[in-house]
């Protein structure tokens, strides 16, 4: 029952990889068609925009394109390294050791995800930049000379690393916890210390998860507009907005956006490359595995401090600042920060987030399942394409959705159907939900696919040969086995959906407001007193799924531990 990770000879390797990843060579037409359909639906809006723009002829590239590309690459590299170090390091800390507050910190560390970038950017700068309280205090202590700008590429890398590391942290933690204990034991008996076993065995084995997390981080970096703009970092995405809004040149903007997508394709290809040709399906394995070790008091407190420090910049300081503003506002005689309209916006946010996350998870399960059932290169490429929407700036997806439904509308009217689709997209939430699915299928599929990788293909084959139809295999075997991935996917999409702004702004029907639109409109006018309390509500709302996720993860951990020793459930 020991794992052998020796590379196989070439011919054998071809067989093996086909064997472990896919249950059969052939696939099922129905399931494969579903994947193609989903891929088409995801690509649709982007394709429509590209076609629309190409019809107008190719515009000139902006003259500072080279700088923007270099800046984008530097930012990606910086944030990539930053999130990897922070995310992986913290995951190791909470997996391998116990220290004060560890059980709370385990899930608190995911919280930076709950912070919308358009809030964080302002709060961070107003706190830490030259005119902010921190530097004012430094000046009062150290003298007038102390003055430095944090709105630089370096500052941006730091802030984005601190807010985006949870993607890596979440997936790395799951990977460390799920690894077969025998692997770790084997490394220890080969004379590796805890740290060495970590770097030489656990980290390489967690590579698929790390790659998936890193890919999500890269996508976020690529499409981010709010944070980078606050830090004066001119990425290609900033260029998209500048050209669009400054020059009224939608064509050039889309052309730039397609460059962003090109980066994204490179990221996705890089992710596959990083997963490598080696396969990581693991089976059973008995042993003690990685058991958390209690740190002595001094070092334990140090570990706690490290975790709190990571949280400070991304969570505690902004939350404290928001609370301060909210209280300040409540003391004044301005209008109340929350009213019935906000309650409406709140329930809208909850509903959209719930529907979007369920829809994305359902679609992601269909894709993961279809790929597992087998099929050719084309199918796998289509599956990969469905994650692509995450790398497209929200506004482009929004416009694409508008245009696509406009085409459909015209086509229907041309075909003699009175009124066509009518105002399907912007007259109801259909447009928003569609665009959400396009944009957030990426994180959902990444999380679920990572779980599928850990289900041996022999299980699928057994289930099929026992006469279970594919749908039943999904419900009875795959579903339960990938449920940790499902939970992660639900949470990631829910949080993103709560925070999402450009899509809602663009596609919402009359009278439909979400909390993020609410906060954004106030923040845009710099009415932070009014925006603070609703912003805190967003953060609190996004904390709920994070908390649910961790209760689930802890239960699963307990089950694994109990199961290894005797029995569980």
């Amino acid at each position: 029952m020991t794992q052998t990770l020796t590379p196989l000879p070439p011919t054998e390797r071809v067989h093996r990889s086909a064997r472990t990843r896919r249950a059969t060579s052939r696939g099922r037409p129905g399931w494969s068609a579903s994947v193609l359909l989903i891929a088409a639906a995801v690509i649709g809006p982007v394709a429509v925009v590209l076609i629309d723009v190409a019809n107008g002829g190719l515009p000139d590239w902006p003259r500072n394109l080279g700088d923007m590309v270099v800046t984008t690459l530097l930012l990606m590299a910086g944030v990539g390294v930053g999130t990897l170090v922070i995310g992986c390091g913290l995951a190791w800390l909470v997996t391998a050791y116990t220290f004060p507050l560890r059980n709370v910190l385990v899930w608190l560390l995911v919280l930076p995800l709950a912070m919308p970038a358009y809030i964080l950017g302002f709060v961070f700068l107003s706190t830490f930049d030259a005119a902010g309280p921190v530097q004012q205090w430094l000046r009062s202590v150290l003298g007038e000379g102390v003055q430095f700008s944090v709105s630089t590429l370096g500052g941006c890398v730091v802030v984005m690393s601190l807010t985006l590391y949870p993607y890596v942290y979440l997936l790395a933690r799951a990977a460390f916890a799920e690894q077969a204990p025998s692997t770790y034991d084997a490394a220890r008996t080969l004379g590796a210390g805890r740290g060495r076993a970590f770097f030489r065995v656990l980290v390489p084995l967690a590579r698929p998860s790390l790659a998936a997390g890193l890919a999500l981080v890269m996508m976020e970096v690529l499409t981010d507009f709010a944070t980078v703009q606050y830090f004066g970092v001119q990425t290609v995405s900033v260029g998209v907005y500048t050209v669009w809004k400054g020059s009224y040149d939608f064509g050039s903007a889309v052309q730039l956006a397609s460059l962003v997508m090109l980066f994204a394709v490179a990221v996705l290809a890089g992710e596959r490359l990083m997963r490598g040709r080696a396969r990581f399906t693991q089976q059973g394995g008995h042993g003690r595995g990685l058991q958390p070790e209690r740190l002595p008091a001094g070092r334990g407190l140090l570990a706690t401090a490290v975790c709190l420090l990571a949280l400070a910049a991304a969570v505690f300081v902004p939350v404290a600042r928001l609370i301060w503003w909210a209280v300040d506002h409540a003391r004044g005689d301005g209008p109340p920060a929350l009213d019935s309209g906000f309650a409406q916006a709140f329930s809208n946010s909850v509903a959209v987030a719930a529907i979007a996350s369920l829809a994305c998870v359902a679609l992601a399960l269909v894709i993961g399942h279809a790929v597992r059932l087998g099929g050719g290169r084309g199918l796998r490429a289509a599956a990969q394409l469905t994650t692509f929407g995450y790398a497209v700036p929200g506004a482009v997806i929004g416009i694409g959705t508008l245009l696509m439904f406009a085409w459909l509308d015209r086509a229907l009217e041309w075909g003699g159907i009175q009124g066509g689709t009518g105002l399907l997209v912007t007259g109801s939430v259909v447009g928003i939900l569609y665009a959400y699915a396009v944009r957030f299928l990426g994180p959902a599929y990444q999380a679920i696919d990572a779980s599928y990788q850990k289900v041996p293909a022999t299980l699928t084959q057994s289930a099929l040969s026992l006469g279970a139809r594919p749908l039943r295999v999904l419900g009875r075997v795959h579903g339960p086995l990938v449920r940790s991935g499902v939970a992660v996917a639900l949470v990631l999409v829910a949080i993103d959906a709560i925070k999402e702004l450009p899509l809602v702004l663009l596609l919402r029907p009359f009278g439909f407001t979400t909390v993020s639109v609410w906060v954004y409109q106030l923040a845009k006018e710099n009415l932070w007193g009014l925006a603070a309390l609703p912003a805190l509500v967003i953060i609190a709302l996004a904390t709920v799924p994070v908390f649910i996720l961790f209760r689930q993860v802890r239960a699963a951990d307990a089950q694994v531990r109990g199961g290894r020793s005797r029995r569980s459930r």
């Binding site: 054998e12 052939r26 041996p456 022999t458 084959q461 040969s465 026992l466 006469g467 005797r566």
Partner: protein, 375 residues
């Protein structure tokens, strides 16, 4: 006898890209028969299994399960609709289901049972593998051998036409393996199940199978009873793969087989032959006699391997060819001992011309231009 075969391969071929994994396979398996598929790794035995299960689609040929065409030109039946059970090396039990639930899995499907009969059938097959008392456990709470028996029970529950076992014992400890094997084979025999074992262990293949199918490079080299595969290998590959074999250059003339060690035996019916052959000698067929006072050149012992009950001696003949010989454990000749070599009486050794065994005398004319089929 005109019973429908449980499994038929007709000219089945399959390749992965440019790599052929099954070439023109023909095979027919009777109901209740136990067949072992053996060969070195990459020989195509697992591919054959996957083709039967419906996990791969053949490029050419037809496959029939219990008389029904499950794969062929224009037909392909999905795995869940085939009456084929699968047992894997890693057991592939569903970790989130209890033993009973695992077994009941196959009773919901296409060849399943009505709800009220499922529990009874599950209990029945679990009794069969003597695991009734563990029905409520989860897979991770069982030993490797128990897991394997659950996997078998699960595969048997829907009464498949064929059960396929993919190296089912190779994940078990050496000492557990024999016991589990006996139990498993016992259950299969008891239920009259048609079974196909894939294995790479020669002893296992010979002891389990009613028939052994030896494969190499995607082809069936020989499909025959264990006895004949061992005693009358059809090809040089089968001779050397199924047990130890040495090949000595020899000559048949006037029905007499002679080689470096003298006359080996008579070859009835080869009276007119005058032909060069290789004779296949297995270590248990080679006898040694010490020649203490011999001076000058001759055969001598070059290696001695102690195996407990028997001792394997390797002898180099004067020509430089080597032969191996099993000796009782009391005989341990030191390296360098001069010996004379003979063949134990009463055997009919296999003769090879090129890579193929010769069972009837070749035309004398044809003798020189015989060429091997393949390398």
């Amino acid at each position: 006898m005109t019973t429908t075969p449980a499994l038929v391969f007709e000219g089945v071929s399959k390749s992965y890209g440019a790599v052929p994994a099954a070439r023109d396979l023909d095979l027919s398996v009777h109901p209740g028969e136990m067949v072992t598929l053996i060969g070195p790794s990459g020989c195509g035995k697992s591919t054959a299994l996957r083709l039967i299960a419906g996990l791969e689609r053949p490029d050419a040929g037809r496959i029939l399960v219990a008389g029904e065409e499950v794969a062929g030109p224009g037909t392909f039946v999905n795995p869940e609709k085939r009456r084929v059970g699968l047992v894997f090396q890693d057991h592939a039990l569903f970790p989130h289901l209890t033993v009973t639930r695992n077994v009941e899995c196959g009773l919901h499907g296409a060849h399943g049972l009505p709800r009220d009969q499922r529990a009874a059938r599950a209990a029945e097959v679990l009794e069969l593998v003597r695991l009734g008392h563990l029905a409520g456990r989860y897979p991770h709470e069982l030993s490797g051998g128990e897991q394997q028996r659950v996997a078998l029970a699960r595969a048997l529950a829907p009464r498949p036409a064929v059960v396929l076992l993919d190296e089912p014992f190779s994940s078990l400890d050496e000492n557990l393996r024999a016991q589990v094997r006996t139990e498993l084979v016992g259950v299969l025999r008891e239920t009259g199940t048609t079974a196909i074992f894939v294995t790479h262990d020669q002893t296992e293949a010979l002891s389990i199978g009613d028939r052994v199918v030896v494969m190499q490079a995607g082809r069936i080299e020989q499909a025959d009873t264990p006895y004949r595969v061992f005693e009358e290998p059809a090809t040089r590959f089968v001779a050397s793969f199924m047990g130890d074999a040495d090949f000595l250059r020899a000559h048949v003339h006037h029905a007499l087989l002679t080689c470096e060690i003298g006359v080996v035996s008579t070859v009835p019916g080869w009276a007119d032959a005058d032909v060069d052959v290789d004779v296949v000698l297995r270590p248990h067929e080679v006898a040694l006699t010490q020649e203490p006072g011999r001076s000058g050149s001759g055969a001598e012992v070059v290696a001695v391997d102690y195996h407990g009950a028997f001792v394997l001696h390797t002898v180099r003949l004067e020509s430089g060819q080597t032969l191996r010989s099993w000796q009782p454990h009391s005989v341990r000749l030191p390296v360098g001992t001069p010996v004379s070599v003979s063949v134990v009486p009463g055997i009919t050794p296999t003769l090879m011309v090129g890579d193929r065994a010769m069972v009837s005398p070749p035309d004398t004319i044809a003798r020189d231009d015989h060429s091997p089929d393949h390398a």
